[in-house]
Every structure is written in C-alpha cells, then in structure tokens.
C-alpha cells in the first residue's frame, strides 16, 4: 500500500521558487490501478518521482508498506526500486548497447550473482511470450519499433516481480493501436499479479480506462475520482 501524507515539492528559492506539488494526502491500495491526469507542468512527473524515491519531498512523506521513503538511504532506495518498483517511461529508456533480452534482465544483473541464480527463466519465457517478444530478444533497441521497445520496457519492469509499477506517459510516443495494446498488457499484468499500477497520462481516454483518477492542476491534487 502507498500512503502519501502532506506531500509537497518546491524547486528553487526566492523569486524563482516554483511549487511543483502542493501539499497533498491520499492512499493507493495494493493492486489498485490509478491514472494520474493533468496538463503538462501540472506536477505529474514530480509526484511519480516522489512516489518512487527518486526525488526527496520538500515536506510530507511517502510510505510504502508503512516504510517512510524519506528515512531510507540512497542505497536502500535503489534496492527498493530494483525489487519492488517497476518503471516505464514515455521514451522507453532502454540501454542502447544492450539487446532486448539484456535490457529485460538488467534489474537482475544489477542484483548480482545470487539473485540471478534465484531468477526463474520460466518466468522470463512467460513474460516474453505474453509480450510477443520471442523473436526480438537478440535485437538492439534501435532495431525495434516504438511499440516493441515499450513492451521490452514493460518486461524489464516486470522481471523482478514488483509490488508497484510506475508509468510516466507510457503511450506518449505510440500510435493509438500500440498504445491500446500496451495499456491492455499493463492492466492485465497488474490485475493478474496484484501489482499496484500508477499511470501518468494526459490522455483522458486512457485515464477513463482506470477505476481511479488523480487529477493534478498547477501542483494541486484537484480531484480524486476514485
């Protein structure tokens, strides 16, 4: 469960101070699927970074399973992101010199030899099968289409069986057909594995597919449609 308490973020100081996220409080339950909606610059990405511990809040706190992320060291936060959080970006962010397989297995590689031994190859095969990437595993990102790259990114996010997946505009660079497919896959995996899914989007059509929407406007969580 993710609990956000009086969370705020301010950049800069003095005359150039920008309040990216005004104090907000909400909770997202395990396996819940939430869309975060808002215009550009409304604070969506800031919220996502704070939820994943990539950025530190100016005030307030984020609790993941009751653990305050602000009290964690950078090392602990990195491990937490690696093992409990999956990330999906608008621009895929695959490492260009690694093949699709290596990109998918990157979190396992980062986890070291011990974790790699524990890792189940059957699980990889299952993900790859479902994402229809079987014949693309040895391709480099540059040799894949946008939709394929995003599916590789989804596989990478899923490989460590995360508790939560954070998606920052995952369909922003895709055509509508690919976008629908990506969202469908994400929702399916989330539902089947009870993974909390938080999708940042400014596409209202996509947002409407989610049972709960958090609307952000000028840094304020304006409406919780859940």
């Amino acid at each position: 469960m993710v609990r956000v308490e009086k969370l705020s973020k301010t950049y800069g100081s003095g005359e150039v101070q920008v309040e990216a996220l005004k104090p907000c409080t909400f909770t997202i339950g395990d396996g819940e699927q939430v869309a975060v909606v808002g215009a550009s610059g409304s604070g969506k990405s800031t919220l996502l970074h704070l939820l994943s511990g990539l950025d530190t809040p100016t005030s307030g706190a984020v609790f993941l399973d009751g653990v305050n992320l602000s009290e964690k060291s950078d090392e602990e936060l990195s491990l937490l992101r690696r093992r409990k959080i999956g990330f999906i970006f608008q621009s895929y962010n695959l490492v260009p010199e690694l093949t699709a397989r290596e990109n998918i297995l990157l979190p396992v590689l980062l986890d070291g030899k011990k974790r790699a031994e524990e890792f189940s190859k059957a699980y990889l095969d299952e993900i790859v099968e479902r994402l229809e990437l079987n014949d693309r595993l040895e391709h480099l990102p540059g040799q894949l289409s946008g939709g394929q790259q995003q599916r590789v990114a989804i596989a990478r996010a899923l490989i460590n069986r995360p508790q939560m997946i954070l998606c920052d505009e995952p369909t922003g660079n895709l055509d509508s057909q690919s976008a629908g497919r990506v969202i469908g896959l994400l929702n399916d995996f989330s539902a089947e594995s009870n993974i909390t899914l938080i999708v940042v989007t400014h596409n209202e059509a996509i947002a409407r597919q989610y049972p709960r929407n958090l609307t952000l406007r000028d840094g304020t969580v304006g409406g919780d449609l859940g």
Partner: protein, 525 residues
C-alpha cells in the same frame, strides 16, 4: 563489479570507434608530453656526455717529452691531427702578405717520422747554418730545387727581424695539416688573429733545446704517456659556451613550456574523458531509476575510467616513444649526434598526468551526478533563472554574449589548442636542439725554446666520427673554398705550435663535427 564490467564491455563494443577516438585523443596529447619529457632527458644525457668530454679535454705542454713514448702513441696522430715541431718565427717573402709568411722551425728525423713528412731530397739540417725547405715553400720563395744553394731569409721572431743565410741541404714533402685546408682557412677567416700554419722551413742546431709536446688529452694522467714534465700551465682549453650555456637556457625554456602545457593538456584530457562520461550519463540515470545504486554507478564510471586510462597509457607511451625516436632520428639525419635515454621519472609523470586527469574527470563527474535526480542525468544542470538585464554595450556584457554562443565549440577548441600547444612544446624543444652545438672556443699559448710540439686534437666521444677531421680519399671535399688543390684529399694534421693565437671554430653541419668529434683523445683512455 561484474555488472559494471559487463555493461562497460557492452558499451565499448557498441561504441568502439568513439572509444578509440577518445583514447587516441588522450594518447596523442599525453604522448606528446611524454615525448617532450623523454626528449629533455635525452638532451640532458647528451649534454652531460659532451660536458664530460669537455672537462676531460686538457692540453698541456710536455717539456722534455720522450720521443720514443710519443712514437708509442703514434696511432693517435693517425686518427687525429698532430704537429711535431717547434716554431722559431716567420719568414718574410716579397710581394706576399705577412699573413702568408711561411713559418721557420725545427725538425729532426723523429719529428719527421712522427709527423709523416717525407724527405724528398738531400738530408735534414744538422747545424744552425743548414736549412731544409718543404716543396711548396720552396716554390713560394721562388727558389730552384737545387741543393747546396745559399738561401737568405728575413726571420721575424719575437726578438725582432733578423736576416740570415742558410745552406739548403734538403727538400721535404709538404708538412700539411690533418685538417682539410679549408678548415684551416676557415679558422683564419673567423676573426682569428692568425691562420694556422706549420713551418715549411726547418733549421738544424737544436741540440740541447727542450723537447716539448703540446697535448690535448682526455685527462691529465694521459700526459704521462709522453714522459717528460707535463705542465698544465700552458694548457689548451676547450670551451664550448654555446653548447653548454645555450643548451641550459633552451632546456630551462623547454621545461617551463612542458610545465605550462601540462596544465593545458590536463584540461584537454579532462575534457575528452568527461565527454565520454557524458555520453553514458543519460543511461546511467535510467539504470539508477530501475535500481542501480550509487556505488554501482561509481563502479561503472570507474571501470570506464580505468579502461580509458589503461588504453591511453599504453598507446600514449607507445606514441611518446615513437615521437622521441622520430625526433632523434631526424636530428641524427640532420647531423646532430644524439643519445637516447629513457627516464622512469618521465614515464611516472606521464602516467600521473593521464591517470590524474582521467580519474579527476570521472570523479568530479560522479560528484556532479550526486547532485542530480537520476532522471535529470544527461540534461544540462538547472541554472538559477535570472532576470534578463537590459541590453548593455559594455565589453564584459558583449564578451559574455559571444562566449555563450561559442560555448558549444569549446571542447573542440580546447582539444585543438592543446594539440597546438603540445606540438609547439615538442617542436620547440626539438628546435632548441638545432642550435649549433659544436662551437668551440680555444686558446693556445706560445712556448719558446721547445724542440717539439705534439698536438693531438680530438676529445669527441662519438666513435663513428673517429675518422673525421681529415680526408681519407682525394676529392672528399670537392669545391670547398680555400682548399689547396695539392692538399685536397691528402691526409693532414692540425697546424699547431706557433705564435699566440686564438681560434674560434664555428664550423657548420658535418664539417664542424668532423673536426671536433675526432676520437683521438678517446684513444688515450
């Protein structure tokens, strides 16, 4: 570490050409500095060697020299120049410039044999009334080659002019120098008070007179070889102020340049290394997002830095040594003898320079990354937004504008400037080496009441020039101004022993070396 190595390996594999470019850039810069440093070491070693030779070149008068011992060392005169004679004065000839007066001196069979002067007719003079004249001097005096005729000459001695009549009892071959005539002529041209000449007229009656040898040797002990009483009073000192002093200045300037350019090179290497980090920054950020720890990110950068440093060190060292051999080879081709020496300090400095600059770049970049959120990696750092000031035509404002526009070219410009600086440093040192080195200034004291002078000139340490200083075959020096046709190509010797003179030998190219690096003195060790 396994992940870091694997990821770095993958990165290098994918961006091989780019990595080679960075390594090459760093290696060229650092290799240039290494070459300059090694070149300096070689220059110092060469100077040291030459200084040793200089300090070891003593000249002395050996009174009562033992002719048998001189003969034992006769091989010295075969490879170097020598003169075995005494000088009494010069003989005036009508219509001939005083500078060209032949010298009158003493000679006996031993001296003739030592000096290699042949007796063409008659015999050597046995008393003070008899005279033997060399063939060319006889011609100069406009005398017939008739033995027994009376020859009246005006002898210019330090005590004044004396008119004397002698009986011609012998005709000798020309007593010539072992230096080419053009060299002797050159000595006369270069502001020397006297051209160097040997006596062409020999008188007898020298019994009881002191035999003396003028010896230029490598150490004082060498003089013992000639017996008698060595006297350093009249020493022939070889000074080479141009070689030593100017080289010291050139060396100091080269060192200063190297130090100065080191700073520039550190900036160049730093920039090249930092560029290679920036290339990966964005993806390191991505990996940080998906769980890479700071330590792992640092390890990744460290792997890259160590790999870059190792490759740059290996290639840079190779290039540096290559540059050095190229420079030394070129100098040798131009006629400068040069020693090649490797100095561990130069390599250490080079290694510190490369590793220091690269690791500094990676370390400082790691620190910069700590201040950024992982998703901001690869993006320009957030700068505080300032209110745009009103347009100012002041110089600092305009300069700021110009710099801002040029900013994107700064890295290329830095590398270019660095390369130019390194080239200037290396070639600056190189050019300094082209300063004529073998200029010697010499002084020679005059000794009276001597029967024999043995002058052995040499002192060079370069064995390959052992046979230099004289011509072995006719036509060795064709077209040299002042070369006497009859003397050209004939083995000769240095015309030493005479009135006070100072000789300044500038020489040029091969000639200068040919004379000054004769290995005669070396034989004496």
């Amino acid at each position: 570490m396994n992940a870091s190595l694997k990821l770095t390996g993958k990165y290098v594999g994918k961006h091989l050409r780019q990595c080679i470019g960075v390594v090459l850039c760093i290696s060229l810069l650092a290799g240039g500095v290494l070459a300059a440093l090694l070149f300096r070491t070689c220059a110092a070693a060469t100077s040291e060697q030459r200084a040793r030779e200089r300090h070891g070149s003593y000249a002395a008068v050996v009174y009562d020299a033992d002719l048998s011992k001189i003969e034992e060392n006769k091989e010295l005169f075969d490879t170097g120049a020598c003169a075995v004679t005494g000088i009494l004065g010069s003989v005036a000839i009508e219509d001939v410039n005083a500078r060209d007066y032949p010298y009158i001196g003493t000679m006996n069979e031993d001296a003739m044999r030592l000096a290699g002067v042949p007796l063409l007719a008659g015999r050597l003079p046995e008393n003070g009334d008899e005279i033997a004249i060399e063939e060319s001097t006889l011609y100069k005096l406009r005398l017939e080659e008739t033995l027994g005729q009376t020859v009246t000459v005006q002898v210019h001695t330090p005590d004044g002019v004396q008119t004397k009549s002698y009986k011609l009892v012998g005709i000798t071959g020309d007593y010539i120098t072992r230096m080419s005539m053009s060299d002797t002529q050159q000595l006369g041209i270069q502001g020397v008070s006297e051209p160097i000449r040997l006596p062409g007229i020999f008188v007898g009656g020298t019994e009881g007179a002191l035999q003396a040898a003028n010896v230029l040797c490598a150490d004082v002990g060498m003089m013992d070889r000639f017996g008698g009483h060595p006297l350093l009073n009249g020493y022939f000192e070889v000074k080479d102020p141009i070689q030593i002093e100017d080289q010291k200045k050139a060396d100091a300037a080269a060192l200063l340049l190297i130090l100065l350019f080191t700073v520039v090179i550190v900036i160049g290497v730093y920039n090249a290394a930092e560029l290679s980090v920036k290339e990966r920054e964005r993806y390191i950020g991505v990996m940080r997002c998906i769980g890479m720890t700071r330590r792992q990110a640092a390890g990744l950068l460290l792997c890259q830095g160590v790999g870059l440093a190792a490759c740059s060190l290996a290639l840079g060292a190779g290039l540096g040594v290559g540059f050095l051999y190229a420079a030394v080879g070129l100098l040798r081709a131009l006629g400068q003898d040069y020693l090649v020496r490797f100095d561990a300090t130069a390599f250490l400095y080079f290694a510190l320079l490369v590793c220091g600059a690269i690791l500094l770049a990676f370390f400082s970049h790691s620190l910069k990354l700590r201040k950024k959120a992982p998703l901001d990696y690869g993006k320009p750092g957030a700068k505080p937004v300032k209110k745009k000031p009103a347009f100012s035509s002041s110089f600092p404002a305009l300069w700021g504008e110009a710099s801002a526009h040029a900013y994107r070219h700064q890295n290329r410009l830095t590398v270019l400037l660095t390369a130019v600086c390194v080239a200037a440093a290396v070639f600056g040192s190189f050019l300094a080496e082209l300063i004529p080195r073998n200029m010697y200034q010499s002084g020679f004291d005059y000794y009276q009441n001597t029967d024999y002078y043995v002058s052995v000139y040499g002192g060079g340490g370069f064995e390959k020039h052992l046979l230099c200083g004289f011509s072995a075959q006719p036509g060795d020096y064709p077209g040299r101004p002042g070369t006497h046709p009859e003397h050209r190509g004939v083995r000769g010797g240095f015309r030493g022993g005479g009135t006070d003179f100072q000789a300044f030998f500038p020489g040029a190219g091969r000639d200068r070396k040919r004379f000054f690096t004769t290995g005669a003195a070396k034989y004496l060790f």
